[in-house]
């Protein structure tokens, strides 16, 4: 399912809403999650899952092909942990 298919499904379920409002709702949800992560905040959606940001320190890495040493900058990486309810539903419990 893509973003546009998600919008389409929601629009079918909510025929009283304008399509542009459904688009705006989907955009707002994912944009708020992204903005929170960009601020370094955690996003916890019980039953669905939690998004968090992990820090990776700068380190020196190696180009596996040439053996050359390269410095890898410190960075922040987004993480997602599946919620208990969704994890159980995926496995048919």
């Amino acid at each position: 399912m893509t973003r546009s298919e998600l919008i389409q499904r929601l629009a079918e379920m909510n025929p009283h809403l304008y399509l542009r409002d459904v688009e705006k709702i989907v955009e707002t949800v994912f944009d708020e999650i992204s903005a929170a992560l960009a601020r370094g905040d955690r996003v916890e959606l019980r039953g669905f899952g939690a998004f968090s940001v992990k820090h990776r320190e700068a380190r020196s890495g190696r180009n596996p092909r040439t053996g050359e040493t390269v410095s890898v900058e410190a960075k922040r990486l987004p993480f997602f942990k599946t919620g208990k309810a969704l994890r159980e539903k995926l496995n048919g419990d």
Binding site: L6, I33, F48, P78, F80, L90
Partner: protein, 98 residues
């Protein structure tokens, strides 16, 4: 700045402010978004949200685990796990605010 935790209520408030529906309906629609994503995944469909990321289901086969307390070996049944992969847009956005 102190880091905080964003919840459904914050997402609903953002929808309320940006779309102009009632607070109740905004909250129902946030739930509907999460429900539709979950349902697609439960049906075995992958979900790809452009400029955000993709959720994919990975099937894990049976493997032998060990109870760390007793040391007894136990089989871990085959299961499905959900993997989220952030898009480049999201990764860049997260690192810009560094």
């Amino acid at each position: 700045m102190e880091s905080r935790t964003i919840t459904r209520a914050d997402l609903a408030e953002a929808v309320y402010e940006s779309v102009g529906l009632s607070r109740n309906e905004s909250s129902d629609l946030v739930e509907a978004v999460l429900d539709q994503v979950s349902e697609a995944l439960i049906e075995g469909d992958n979900v790809k949200i452009s400029s955000f990321g993709s959720f994919t289901i990975r099937e894990k086969g049976e493997r032998i685990g060990r109870n760390p307390k007793t040391g007894v070996e136990v089989p871990i049944s085959p299961r499905k796990v959900l993997v989220f992969r952030a898009s480049h847009v999201l990764k860049e956005r997260i690192n810009k605010g560094k």
